[in-house]
Symmetry: C2
Subunit: 609 residues, 2 copies
């Protein structure tokens, strides 16, 4: 009897030979799970989520139920210390149950832009009303502001109107009014306050939030957490399927992500000693599925061919209509999604990296479960999306994990075919992340441990033979009960499929524009994976064509940077919308000969000396 | 032992000598209360409301509780057949418990206007998407419409966007799109449908609703019910006080009136065989307190001196933000309230009666618990509000009732001092309404039964002497156990106070403009009471100055007519806003010598021959 436990979102898998508790399994996999009571089911901190109805057997004792409500239990929440597994299972560990926070990508590319928001905070001082001067509250404020700014037509929506009274009377007829263009969106009893906004990048796996001063454009605080929707499925499609079967799920997924944004927003505001009602504006980017789930737009046409989004325009909605906690009239701007599989995060990435601003031939790649690729030439940009799968993020790789502490991020193999590994956090290796496995494959190819089709030479040093005569290369030998960390044949196959899909996208775009590798003047790679990626090895395994390395730039979460720019600058917003209009979407599945491109993309180039 | 039961909203009071059930009391007062089970507490139809904690003793048997939830019971709801009263009590009978509907004023003055709404319904026929043409749903519709109308910039809010998918796919890519200017506010699977809207006049006592074809301006159906907020207090002030003590009450009062509008809207739509999602626009008018309660705006500054409203501008909000059932993007327009005690209903009345459109010197009076008076001269209009009290609506008058079936609406007294009464519905008299008592007083003055200060001559024929030597004039002698219907000295005092307040307002406005009675070219009187009012007697009792009778016009619910005009015509809306800017509010309580005007206003003129 043997079975596998997969830990999400960290992406580590553990092979087990006997029934064991989730706590024990986590310990063996090197994952820090909270356990203040030492596994006595007293503290309730080791809460984990399992797919409802999973085969793993849960031993429910009364202490467990005392920490979990019946509703939670039915939804699949369990105490790790009380749940015994004896067959394949997937365990989701929420951030609150983890000792160590994961590294969540929130640093972005540095882009220069001039903050210029339609939102401004104005200090006011007005005279109180009397029986002789019975002017209404709103008119008293609006005429004051109109005089002060020498403009006309100031107005306010209902939620802001409801809040004026308290502010005027508690603030003794002075304070600050926040305007969005000519709309009063909030009132504060203090004077001289700064306008704040929140930029959000909703990824399938991660949520990154940035608290921004709308007047200066400065990022005041940054935070990221895992996308809580992950309990409804790791990938986009399984979440869309959940929503398609029940509109309650749609509500739940929306609430889920909104609540998380509220939570981060509150934490970020605390760092500035303010409350969330100081948030005046939001800019939210994300792939089109995340965009639709956030807005509770219908997803069926998006999930099924021909994959039609509800809209591909920008949208401005009131924060309160989405349940976001913010100033009464706070506004949420969502940049245009480009197509069903190319979202506003791609647009934000291209904006942050100044696509559309010159006429160079440029390639922009955001690597993820779905990878988006853009090729710019003259005044045109064509984008496509490839289902590269989660291999680069460590999933479906035996010892794969995300780019978190404990992950092997870089590998080189010496002349004796001995591997040398760099581990994130410099501790013992727990697994291998995307950039590490990519390095490993490049090095294995260079040292001829694998051939051009990725087959491992079973005779090579460091290779062991597993069940069914399948070879695996040992990256780090286990000790003290820890298993070996290997690159198995199946892992290489997964990575070659992934890189084949991306490379096919690149080649199709190049052919679409009738250009060759030599024409490409710049390559920008974004995404959590991208920031650890070694361009040299990306070319060596053929993920990228043979482009001079100094033309290849890796950026971190450029989408987050783009979101911040759009949040704090009207010009950037206009620019983003213009950029969106420039981008044509190319549906790869209808390109003739796609399979040929893909088959070619899978092959590994010959090693160079 | 004797005590009085007051039945609301009909306004009838019953003097009782012994404990009795509410059902029995209603029967004696001639009020048709539902009782399908014959008083066995089985049908649950005789539900009535009593002030929570009222002294009247309720005999709760288990059958009663089976028809009333604990929450309802705590709020004061009772079964009339199971509730025994033995001291003074006020009983509110909801329309659902009444056999006979009250006459609710929904006819208005006929005004000519050209319907011209920014809302239009357009039939569309679009081609379905494919993998080759993956245009998003919204863009597919908007580009079709932009081509069709030769315009740009069509957009949609989130609720409308959410509804497009179903419509497109269920309607087989054809149907109707409703536009509000350039905003898509709804989509329907049928073609060639008419745009519908609802005009609402929210009175303190009554809600009047009008279903209007926005293309033709035609009123398709009309309905009115009592304002359900009446259970929180008959007059504006007691409702505002309820809201000031608890924000839950604010929510409850808002929900109350919104639910009632939803209910009427649904009924009105049924008459046209459509559902409420066909409603694309609303125009809601009302006094400023009703306006604030409907919008859940803060009311404390409105309720306490110096009586400041939250705003005095027009407001446009989405129907869904108020909880109104309608098309996804349906919009609610609320014309500007003029001041704390002069609301948008006054504005709508003046609009419907073409105030501001000529330079005649005109007087406009809307008589109610608060009466609004406007005086127009040259290009100026000044409005004021007088607390005339509810006497004209039959309250605080011993046998007073509203202008409903059974009310004495007109009285004349012959040379033998015998009264002759006209009863609404031509049945037996149950009480006397405002116009009836006004007639009675005019006739009593003409026949010298009362003097100029309103004192009844105890020697006059038809006068009986009650307790404490107070005289009363018998209008209709009781028989078969029915009591006499009289005009008591206290009733006359009440009416003189009310008419004194209104007359004072008129005189102050005239002095404000330095004009005399002879200058007034036109008087328009609105309100439920107004439509039964005899102008001749209004002048005879001095409610109005001595204006030639052919200059006096009574109109019904002109505010409702104004609301319909504003709903269906952009021009009328612009005109209403321009009219609002023309109107100056005059606060009577700060006018020097107000008490003098009032004292003078109370006096009855000498009878003419």
């Amino acid at each position: 009897m043997s079975f596998t436990i997969e830990f999400e979102p960290i992406g580590i898998r553990l092979l087990c030979e006997e029934p064991l508790s989730i706590s024990e399994a986590a310990r063996r996999a090197g994952i820090g799970l909270r356990s203040e009571c030492g596994g006595k089911a007293v503290c309730g901190k080791c809460l984990v989520h399992m797919e409802p109805g999973a085969a793993g057997i849960s031993y429910v004792s009364s202490p467990e139920t005392s920490h979990i409500k019946a509703k939670q239990f039915a939804e699949g929440w369990r105490l790790a210390c009380r749940t015994i597994l004896k067959s394949d299972a997937k365990v989701f560990i929420p951030p609150t149950s983890q000792i160590e926070n994961q590294i969540v990508q929130t640093e972005g590319v540095a882009s220069f832009f001039q903050a210029h928001s339609p939102i401004q905070c104005l200090s006011i001082d007005i005279s109180p009303p009397s029986l002789e001067k019975q002017q209404a509250d709103f008119e008293r404020i609006s005429t004051t502001l109109e005089r002060q700014l020498n403009i006309k037509g100031i107005w306010a929506g209902l939620p802001a109107l409801r809040s004026l009274r308290m502010v005027l009377r508690q603030g003794n007829w002075q304070g600050t009014i926040a305007l969005n263009d000519r709309e009063i969106i909030a009132a504060f009893t203090e004077k001289n306050i700064q306008p704040l906004g929140l930029a959000v990048d909703v990824g399938t796996t991660k949520l990154a939030c940035y608290l921004v001063n709308l007047e200066t454009g400065q990022t005041l605080a940054t935070s990221g957490i895992m996308n809580p929707q992950i309990v409804f499925g790791e990938d986009v499609m399984s979440r869309l399927e959940k929503v398609m079967v029940s509109s309650e799920n749609a509500d739940r997924l929306q609430r889920n992500v909104i609540e998380s944004i509220n939570q981060i927003a509150s934490t970020l505001c605390e760092t500035q000693s303010v409350t969330v009602d100081r948030l005046l504006a939001f800019c939210i980017v994300g792939n089109t599925a995340m965009h639709h789930l956030l807005l509770n737009l219908p997803v069926r046409p998006l999930a099924l061919a021909p994959f039609i989004p509800a809209l591909s325009s920008s949208l401005e909605v009131k924060a309160d209509s989405l349940g976001l906690h913010a100033a009464p009239g706070a506004v949420v701007y969502l940049p245009p999604p480009i197509a069903g599989f190319v979202g506003s995060d791609h647009l934000a990435f291209l904006l942050a990296c100044q696509f559309g601003e010159d006429t160079r031939i440029r390639l922009g790649i955001d690597i993820g479960t779905n990878s988006e690729i853009a090729l710019q030439m003259n005044d045109r940009i064509v984008s496509c999306s490839t289902a590269s799968g989660p291999a680069f993020e460590g999933a479906h790789i035996r010892h794969g994990m995300r780019a978190a502490v404990g992950a092997i991020a870089h590998v080189c193999i010496d002349e004796n075919l001995h591997p040398h590994c760099d581990v994130i956090g410099h501790g013992l290796p727990m697994g291998i992340c995307g950039s590490g496995i990519l390095d490993a494959i490049a090095e294995m190819r260079r040292t001829n441990i694998i051939n051009s089709r990725g087959r491992i030479d079973p005779q090579a040093a460091g290779v062991m033979i597993e069940q069914n005569s399948i070879p695996a290369y040992i990256l780090a030998a286990g000790n003290n009960g820890r298993h070996d960390i290997v690159v198995a044949q199946q892992d290489i196959d997964q990575i070659l499929m992934a890189k084949g899909a991306i490379r096919a996208g690149i080649e199709i775009l190049m052919d679409h524009f009738h250009i060759t590798t030599q024409d490409i003047e710049d390559v920008t790679i974004a995404g959590a994976f991208g920031s650890y990626l070694d361009p040299f090895n990306a070319v060596r395994i053929g993920l990228l064509p043979e482009i001079p390395l100094d033309h290849i730039h890796t950026v971190g979460n450029a989408a987050g940077t783009g979101a911040r720019m759009i949040l704090a600058s009207t010009e950037c917003r206009i620019q983003a919308e213009a950029l969106a209009r420039k981008i044509d979407y190319l549906e790869l599945t209808v390109v003739p000969g796609f399979n040929r491109y893909f088959a070619k993309g899978i092959r590994l180039p010959s090693p160079q000396t």
